[in-house]
Symmetry: D2
Amino acid sequence: MALTIGVDIGGTKIASGVVDEHGRIIERALRHTPADNPEKVAETIAEAVNELAGRHEVEAVGLGAAGFVDETRSVIRFAPNLAWREEPIREKVAKLVGLPVVVENDANAMAWGEFRFGAGKGESHVVCVTVGTGIGGGIVLDGALYRGKWGMGAELGHMQVMPGGRPCGCGNVGCWERYASGSALLMDAKENAAADPSSAGCLLALAGSAGAMLGEHVSEAARQGDGAALAAFASLAAWLAQGMADLAAILDPSCFILGGGVSGVADLWVDAVRAGYAERLTGRGHRPLADIRVAELGPSAGLVGAADLARIR
Amino acid sequence: MALTIGVDIGGTKIASGVVDEHGRIIERALRHTPADNPEKVAETIAEAVNELAGRHEVEAVGLGAAGFVDETRSVIRFAPNLAWREEPIREKVAKLVGLPVVVENDANAMAWGEFRFGAGKGESHVVCVTVGTGIGGGIVLDGALYRGKWGMGAELGHMQVMPGGRPCGCGNVGCWERYASGSALLMDAKENAAADPSSAGCLLALAGSAGAMLGEHVSEAARQGDGAALAAFASLAAWLAQGMADLAAILDPSCFILGGGVSGVADLWVDAVRAGYAERLTGRGHRPLADIRVAELGPSAGLVGAADLARIR
Amino acid sequence: MALTIGVDIGGTKIASGVVDEHGRIIERALRHTPADNPEKVAETIAEAVNELAGRHEVEAVGLGAAGFVDETRSVIRFAPNLAWREEPIREKVAKLVGLPVVVENDANAMAWGEFRFGAGKGESHVVCVTVGTGIGGGIVLDGALYRGKWGMGAELGHMQVMPGGRPCGCGNVGCWERYASGSALLMDAKENAAADPSSAGCLLALAGSAGAMLGEHVSEAARQGDGAALAAFASLAAWLAQGMADLAAILDPSCFILGGGVSGVADLWVDAVRAGYAERLTGRGHRPLADIRVAELGPSAGLVGAADLARIR
Amino acid sequence: MALTIGVDIGGTKIASGVVDEHGRIIERALRHTPADNPEKVAETIAEAVNELAGRHEVEAVGLGAAGFVDETRSVIRFAPNLAWREEPIREKVAKLVGLPVVVENDANAMAWGEFRFGAGKGESHVVCVTVGTGIGGGIVLDGALYRGKWGMGAELGHMQVMPGGRPCGCGNVGCWERYASGSALLMDAKENAAADPSSAGCLLALAGSAGAMLGEHVSEAARQGDGAALAAFASLAAWLAQGMADLAAILDPSCFILGGGVSGVADLWVDAVRAGYAERLTGRGHRPLADIRVAELGPSAGLVGAADLARIR
C-alpha cells in the first residue's frame, strides 16, 4: 500500500497527514508555524513528517504553500505570509526526512485534491476557484495539473475585471479578487451599511459597529434578510460569475469547483453564481454549460492534494 | 515523404495547399467560396483537394474554418460567415476525397502553424492572439494544441475587459475584441477625429471623409504623425497589453504571438504592447516575462497549421 | 410697438428676423456666412439688419452665436466654427447699423426664446438642453437668463459622466455630449451594427453601408423596429436622463426643455427620458418632479430669443 | 443695532447664538438635541432662543438644519438624523418665541455665512462644498442664495460621478459624496491598507487595527508620509477637482469654498484640488479660473449664516 504525507504550510499552522491512495487521511499531525523564524519552518515540517513516517510506511512527501513555486517544484520564489524569498524548501526538507519531496502552490494542491477525491472526481477539465481572503486558483486540464511555463499559472485572482478599480496588493488595480472574495464581501457590506444604515439594521446589530464587522456577521445577517448583507452577497456572486465566464472563454472547462472559506456558506450564493454564469457565458446556446460545484474536502483539500501529487512526482 | 493538404475555408475564398513535414507549401489551389449555397462548400473543397491529390501523394486533409468546432473535430457547430449550423463537414469532405480529414478552428490552426514552423518554434507554452476584425485565439500548452473540454477553448476575444462597455456581437458587452482589434482601432480613430478634427487633419485628408475611413488610412496617418491615429494605436496597444497580462495570470505562457491583419503594421504598436505588458503583469519582478513576437507565416499560417494537424490526427 | 431684430450666426448661414414683443417673426432675411473670411461676417450681418431696419421701426439688435461670449456681452472669445478669437462683434455691428446691439451665446438665446414664447412659458426655473451634434445648454433661474460670473455658464455638454470615457473635443474625456447627442446616437448605432449586423438589417439597408449611415437612417430604422437603432435611442435616453438628474441635484428646476435637431424625433425617446429621470432623481419621493418638455419654436428659437434679449439689454 | 439669533440644529446638539450685522457672535447657548423625542426639538430651540432674547434686543431667528427645506422656508420635508417628515418647524418655534423665524438647509446657511463674512466676502458667484461625512452644498449666484424651484437645489453630493459606482444612501450609485468626503477618505484608506499592508505601516500602527481606523489616523499618517494615507488624500483631491470642474461647466462661479470637517486638514489636499481643477476645467485657457479657498468661519458658519438670513427674510 502506497502511503504519502501531505503538508499544508500556513502562516499560523503547519498541518500534516498520512494519506492513502484513495485520499483518506490515516493520521494527522499539527504544529504551530514558527513565523518569526522562517529558517525554522523546514525543521518544524521535518519533525512532523518524521514523527508520522516513524509509524507508517511512507514513500514520499508533498508540501503545499501559498506563494510562487518555481517550475522545478523545488523552490518557493516568493511567499508573502512566510517571508520567504527563493527558499529551497524541497532540498531542506528532503535532507531532514530522507524521503523524496515535491512542492506545490497551495491552491494548486487544493484543486488537485478536489479533482482526485472530491467535487471534481471523474472530470477532465476543472477550474478550481478558492474564495477566501483573496482568490486562489488551480487548473486541471486533460487530467493533469496545469502549472504554466514557469509554475506561475492559475493566479486567477489577478485577472483585471475593472479598469481603474480597487487597488490590489499585487500592485495593479481592479483585480478579480478585489471584487469576488471574502474581503471584498466584507468591504461591500461595510460600504452598503455606510451608504444606507437603515438597510443594515440587523448587520450592524450583529457586528456591534461597522468597524467590528466580520464575514460571519455578513453571512448571519444575510440569513436574516438584511438588505446590506444580501446586496453584498449578490455582488460577490455576480463578480464570481463574470470571472468564471471569462475563464470559460479561455479554458472551456467541464467543471468549476468553488472552495475556500466563503464556500462554507455557499448555499447563500452558489445558485446566483450559476444563474449569472449562464447569462454571461460567451457562445451560450451553442455550447454546453460547465457544472458549477462546491468543494467537498473542506480545509483538508490542500493536504490531501499535496500528498497525492507526491505520489505522481 | 509525408504530404498533407491544408484548407483554409474563408467567407470569400477557399485556399488549399499541399504541405510537407517542414511546413513548406508545395502547391496551392484557390477557389471562390460558394457563399450563397452552403451546401456546395464541401464540393468546392473536394474539387480543390482532388486536383491537388491527383498530383501529389497525400495522406490526409486538414480543414480550418472560423467557427465553433465540436470536440470530436468533425462538426462545425456554428460558423457565422458560412451560415453553417451543425455542419458535418468532416464526413462530407472525407466521402468526396477518400482521405482522412480533420477539422480545426481557424485561429487554432494559425496558432499551430506559427508554433510548429513560425514565430513559436522551439517554445512550449504559446498564446497566439490574432488581431483582425475581431480577436481570434489559439493556445499551445506543453507542446499540444489546447481545445478545452468541448472544443470551445481559446475564444480569447470574448473575455470581458470593460464592465458595461461596448456591445459585442456575442451578446455580451465589454469584450476584449471590442477594444483591441482592427475594428476597434477604426472606431477609436473615428471617435478621436469626431471629438477633435483639428488633431486628425492628415487622417481625414487620407480618408476623404470620416465615413470612408479604413484601417489603412489610420496606419498611414499614424506614420505621418497624425494625432488621432496615433492615439488610436496607443489605445489598441494598451488594451492588447492588458488582456495579455490577464492571460498570463491564468496561463503563464513562455511566448505570445501576435498575428492577424493588424499585425501587418505591428511596427506601429508592438513595442507599446511589450512595454504595457511589462507594466501590467501581476507578480512582475518575481517571474520571467514572456516573449512577445509578431507572427511570421502571414496569411498562410492557417493553411499550414491545418495541414500539419492532419498529420497528427 | 417695440420691434427688435434677432440674428442667428451659424457656420453656414446667417438668419435674421424682425421680432415683435410677442415673439412673432414679422420678416426674415437669410445670408450665406462668409466662412472663409471671418472679417466679413460683421458686414454681412449689417447688410441684412440694415435691409430689415429700412422697412421696420427697430430699436435694437440681438446676435446669437455658438461660442464663449464674454461677461460684458460684447466680445466672442472663442467660436470654433467661425474661427473667431476675441472678436469684438458687438462694436463692429453697432457701428455699421447705428443701433444698440447685444451678443448672446446661441444656446442661451434658444433657451430664452423657449422660456419667453415656447415650451417654457410661465415657468420660473428652466434648464434647456439642446441635443444636436453636441449638447448646448441654457439656464433660466428665477426668470432671468443665467450666464455665470464670466459668461461661461451652462456649458452642460461638458459635465463628465464617464470617467475615462470617450474623448471630447474640449480636451477632456467622458463629457455628457459624447453620450447624449446626435453624434453619440450615430456612433452608438454604428457600434451596435458592427457588433451584431444581424440586429441592424434594416438600418444597414437604409444607410447603404455603415460608413454612409446618417442620423435620419437611425431614426427611420428605429421606427421600423430595427434592434441596433432602438438600442442607440435607448442609450441616448438613459444618458440624457442621468445628466438631467445630475442637473436637478444642483439646480432643482421646475422644467427641462429638450431642443436641438434630435428633438425633431423626440417621440422616439422623450418618454424614456421621463421614465429614466424619475428613476434617477436624488431625493425622489420627497420632492416634485420637474416637467420634461420638447422645444416648441424649432430652428427659430435662437433668433427669437436673441431679439427678445435685445429688448431687455 | 439689528441683532438676530442663528440656530444650528444638529443630530446631537443645538447651537444658538446672537449675531450682529457684521457676523460677530455676541453670545452663545448650547443644548443637547432631544434626539429620542423629535416633538421636543422645537421646545429645546425655543428655550435657548428665549434665554438669549431675554438678554439682547433680537428681531428675528434663523434656523439651519440638515434636510430638505420646502420652498416657503417653513417646513422641513425630510431630515434623516432628526427623524423628521414634513415638520412645520418654523411655525412651532415662532409660536414659542414670538419672533419672526426663517428656516434654511444647513449647508445653505454655511455657504451664506462664508459668503457674507468669511472666505467668500466680496465675491458674487460662490459655490460652497462642505466636505464632511458626505458632501453638502450651498450656492450663491449674483449675490443671492440659490435654492431652486422647490428649495432642493445645491444637493451637490448627489451628482453621479461614477456610473455603476459605490452605493449611496440616497438610493442611487456613484454619487460624488461616495468618492469625495470624509467617509470616502476613510474607505479609501482602508481599501489601500487591505490591498497592501506594507504601504500602510504607519496608518495601521496609529489606528491599532483596520477596524478601529478613524479619519484623524489617516490625516496623521499622511503627515508622516504613509503611502496608503497619501493615496487616499490624492483620490479625495482628484474627485473633488473633477466634481468642481463639472460644477464650473454649469455655474461658472468666481469662487469655490471648501468647508466641512475634512477642511480642517485642507493643507494636506487643497493644492492638489487646485491643480486638478485647472487640469479638468472645460474651456481652460479661454476662461478665468475660479478661486478655490478654504472656509474661514469653522463650525460657526452655519449659525452665523442662519442668523444673517433671518435679517433678510
